[in-house]
Point group: C2
Chain length 110, copies 2
């Protein structure tokens, strides 16, 4: 994850529909969702959603796989990890003491 890639990813996440898509796909987990399902679930038109899925793909935040006539999309948690690590790297590299409490509060509630 270099700076250019991070910028692309942040840009992808700075649009309401796309942020919704990523959250939806994270919840969908390994099952993923077909492009059409996603569009229906979020009340977006087919071609608009296709364009937005393309942006998220480009950003490395989602993946896809054809399944019959549909194309299923999945959250790319590895891509998300890379983005967060990019921010954390800056934080920890420059100021570990101030950074640690920040990380401590980000934990799975389970």
């Amino acid at each position: 994850m270099d700076k250019t890639h991070a910028l692309t990813a942040f840009g992808a996440l700075s649009q309401p529909t796309r942020l919704d898509v990523l959250r939806l796909l994270i919840r969908a987990g390994d099952t993923g969702m077909a492009a059409g399902e996603i569009a229906t679930a979020l009340g977006a038109r087919q071609n608009t959603m296709s364009a937005n899925l393309g942006v998220l793909m480009q950003a490395g935040l989602i993946r896809n796989a054809r399944q019959g006539r549909s194309i299923r999309y999945f959250a790319d948690l590895e891509g998300l990890r890379g983005l967060l690590a990019f921010l954390m790297e800056d934080c920890c590299g420059g100021n570990p003491a101030a950074c640690q409490p920040l990380l401590d509060t980000i934990t799975c509630p389970s």
Copy 2:
């Protein structure tokens, strides 16, 4: 941190100069940097930088404090934490098992 706030923050981070500013201020730590210093360090013009600092302020990613004639800016780690927690919340809520390895890799290298 609601969705609207997260969108503003992601938008703020999707611009090269602003991403550089945040990284710079994170490294500067509690000392912070004056607006003019930041502009000089990143090779940006005064008013352009002022506008970009305003965007980061609006997004809750940096803070400022007047010090004499200068205004010093600081990274707002609490704001950054809120943004990351917003993403993590989605992740952990929907898929704790897949999410944990992601969190495990984000640790301070120190």
